[in-house]
């Protein structure tokens, strides 16, 4: 036990003496949270939407008024008026404008005669997000135009009324659980992976191996130290990330208890996974080379930035085994939904089993000799 604590003491002294290491493991996830959270969470504003009015009638004027209303209020787009349809379409293709609405000749007459009136929206569908936003906005406008002047007393169509359980969750908040998990992963990657291999290559472990320390003391000492570093990183990122993203649940004591358990189990699980991966590695280049692959393979399928339900079957299978998935789900429940411990117990059980399984495989593989 004393020898195990000596290994942990040595690792922690190194950790606190190298602030750069602590910063590196925290800065990457925080930068990701701030940049991605702001880049992906916003709505389209001030897009340029061309308008070619070949009708010039009163119904076309209604559309122009609706466009002006959007420009003044939502500011989703700003109309740019064209007289030549071909030029407007060319400008969409060349990226000068983001879309073009064409009101054909006789549009107003067709509206009055209820003779299948149509307007066209030309979009650059190489940019799905922009095109779907414009499509959505134009659909809303046409729906409004199609409303009868006098509303019937009894609705004749089914209406969907949406009940949102939580206040609007900005994308930055949505990203926070993934960022916390990623920070702990970066910590175990550097603190438990790269430094472990570097120490081996520099002969530091050779120094340990000539002492009477047992294999189990060495395994638990190294894993304990790696997990403690990840816990510290997790706690700091949870606090700082919550403040940055404006998540107030972090100040609830009940939530904090659940968060601590989740941080602890995630740290142990990720660290034992890293230990298993590195247990027979000698070359310090290996953890550095695999960092990008592991990051992609673990972070992106976890549902941290996109819903798992949108994945193909094989990526869902990866997500099912990925410890990130359970960590992200657990943090999401606690931080964004305030569900209490009951909802995250399955995540905790998976992370515990994952940690025990990886450690059980890694321990026999760990060599007590060089």
């Amino acid at each position: 036990m004393n020898r195990m604590m000596a290994i942990i003491e040595r690792e922690m002294r190194k950790f606190f003496r190298s602030p750069a290491l602590m910063m590196v493991s925290m800065i990457f996830p925080l930068v990701q949270l701030i940049v991605l959270g702001n880049a992906f969470g916003g709505k389209i504003k001030d897009a340029k939407l061309g308008l070619v009015d070949q009708d010039g009638g009163t119904q076309a004027l209604k559309i122009r008024e609706a466009f002006d209303s959007v420009r003044s209020n939502m500011r989703t787009f700003e109309p740019v008026y064209y007289t030549d349809q071909k030029r407007a379409v060319d400008d969409v293709r060349n990226g000068k404008i983001d879309g073009a609405v064409i009101i054909p000749p006789q549009y107003s007459r067709r509206v009055y005669e209820q003779d299948a009136p149509r307007i066209a929206l030309v979009v650059d569908n190489s940019d799905n997000f922009m095109s779907s936003t414009l499509e959505g906005e134009l659909t809303d406008i046409t729906n409004a135009l199609n409303q009868p002047t006098v509303s019937p007393r009894i609705l004749q169509q089914t209406v969907l009324q949406i009940v949102e359980l939580y206040p609007y969750i900005e994308y930055m908040k949505y990203l926070l659980p993934g960022s916390i998990t990623l920070a702990m992963f970066v910590s175990v990657m550097i603190g438990g992976g790269m430094l472990y291999i570097d120490d081996k290559a520099r002969g530091v472990h050779e120094g340990y191996l000539v002492t009477p320390i047992t294999k189990m003391e060495l395994v638990f000492g190294l894993n304990g130290a790696g997990a403690i570093k990840a816990v510290l990183t997790g706690v700091v990122i949870t606090l700082v990330g919550s403040l940055l993203a404006g998540v107030g649940t972090v100040f609830h004591l009940d939530t904090d208890l659940g968060l601590m358990v989740m941080i602890l189990l995630t740290s142990v699980g990720l660290n034992s996974m890293m230990f298993l991966m590195m247990v027979r590695v000698e070359d310090p280049l290996v953890p550095r080379a695999t960092f990008g692959i592991l990051n992609t393979l673990l972070f992106f399928p976890s549902g941290a930035i996109y819903p798992i339900q949108a994945f193909p079957w094989w990526l869902r299978a990866v997500a099912k085994a990925d410890p990130f998935t359970y960590a992200v789900h657990g943090f999401k429940c606690l931080l964004l939904k305030e569900t209490g411990l009951g909802a995250v117990v399955p995540d905790m059980i998976y992370l515990s089993i994952f940690a025990l399984a990886t450690l059980a495989v890694a321990t026999p593989l760990f060599k007590r000799t060089l």
């Binding site: 604590m5 000596a6 040595r10 002294r13 570097d198 002969g203 050779e206 120094g207 009477p212 060089l370």
Partner: protein
């Protein structure tokens, strides 16, 4: 006195009871280490007496470090046995580990920790009781002259100071046997001498058996009571430095540099009386081993005058361990494939 290479002990008519009166700190018997088809250590046996300083010499890749690693439980033994302080390193490795202090070839102290912290961590790893820890560290720091640097981070130390720290680290649990794998490699001459003096000083303060590997013959000559020469994984010689020097044919070495010597000059030098070997070392320099230094020197000068060959420099000295080494291993330097390690971590910047 000659060395029995099978048992590693000297056999002398007047010393027949030596094995029973002096106990052995290290006993290595028919030890073998194989990496696949490659035999790194091949059937080596020797014994080191308590309190002795025992040197292991050999060219690069000869198997010295592999031998040390087997004795210090770092790598498994393929065949044979090694007993450290009476403990079989395979059957009771922890008992062997408690009896030994090890200074590996590389500088392995933690550069981010202070000198004292490094020693504290190792004292804990060796289960030195908390009450004795401080006194042991204070004494060692005094012994290696690092007391005033105890709070300095290891990365700020010079190579010589770091080596002294490693020596203190290896002794923090008061071992009976001390293994040093090339402790002065990479140090400047002043630091090397400082390490030698330190080892001699430590030896006078503590009842220690020391096993040391080195490339430096002067180091081995100065420090070691007995020397074993290892080559191609085999023990090729084992005796005291004096006896080893005496075992090389020729008691003197003449080093001479000539101006424009003819092509058959080496052959002519060989024909001088009492000459046992001649080595041409390039640039007109010859190294001649002879049993009679003065006679050979006289004849050599006469030969040069007769042949019209100018003598640029000439020196006569006694046989050194360098000559012993060359005699037993063939060459002074030999680089062989190091099979045990495929990667060596470069030092961190600033080290």
């Amino acid at each position: 006195m000659i060395a029995d290479l099978n048992t590693g002990t000297e056999i002398s008519p007047n010393d027949s009871d030596a094995r029973t009166t002096v106990s052995n700190a290290i006993e290595v018997e028919h030890i073998v280490k194989k990496y696949g088809d490659f035999t790194a250590v091949d059937n080596v046996s020797f014994r080191v007496k308590e309190g002795e300083i025992f040197g292991l010499l050999g060219p690069n890749g000869a198997g010295k470090s592999t031998l040390i690693r087997m004795m210090t439980t770092l790598i498994p033994i393929t065949a044979g046995t090694a007993r450290i302080n009476g403990h079989d390193v395979q059957k009771d490795p922890n008992a062997a580990r408690r009896a030994i202090g090890v200074i590996p070839q590389a500088l392995t102290s933690d550069i981010d920790l202070t000198i004292e912290e490094n020693l504290i961590i190792y004292a804990k790893l060796y289960d030195v009781p908390a009450k004795k820890r401080k006194a042991a560290i204070d004494e060692l720091l005094e012994l290696v002259d690092l007391t005033k640097w105890r709070n300095a981070q290891t990365k700020t130390l010079s190579g010589g100071m770091r080596r002294r720290l490693e020596i203190a680290r290896g002794l923090v649990h008061s071992p009976q046997i001390f293994f040093l794998d090339e402790p002065t490699t990479g140090l400047d001459p002043v630091s090397r001498v400082a390490v030698w003096e330190m080892l001699t000083n430590i030896k006078s303060h503590r009842q220690l058996t020391i096993l040391i590997t080195t490339h430096y013959m002067d180091e081995a000559d100065r420090l070691c009571d007995r020397i074993a020469i290892v080559d191609h994984g085999k023990l090729v010689a084992l005796d005291t430095p004096m006896a080893l020097k005496a075992s090389v044919p020729g008691s003197n070495v003449i080093e001479a540099q000539f101006e424009n010597p003819p092509a058959d000059w080496e052959e002519k030098l060989h024909q001088l009386s009492a000459v046992t070997s001649v080595q041409h070392e390039g640039a007109g320099m010859y190294r001649i081993l002879t049993g009679n230094g003065s006679k050979t020197t006289t004849e050599l000068v006469e030969l040069a005058v007769q042949a019209g060959v100018g003598v640029k420099s000439l020196s006569v000295q006694n046989t050194t361990l360098d000559d012993v080494f060359v005699h037993y291993t063939g060459r002074q330097l030999r680089d062989e494939l190091q099979k045990a390690y495929s990667f060596v971590m470069p030092p961190r910047p600033g080290m």
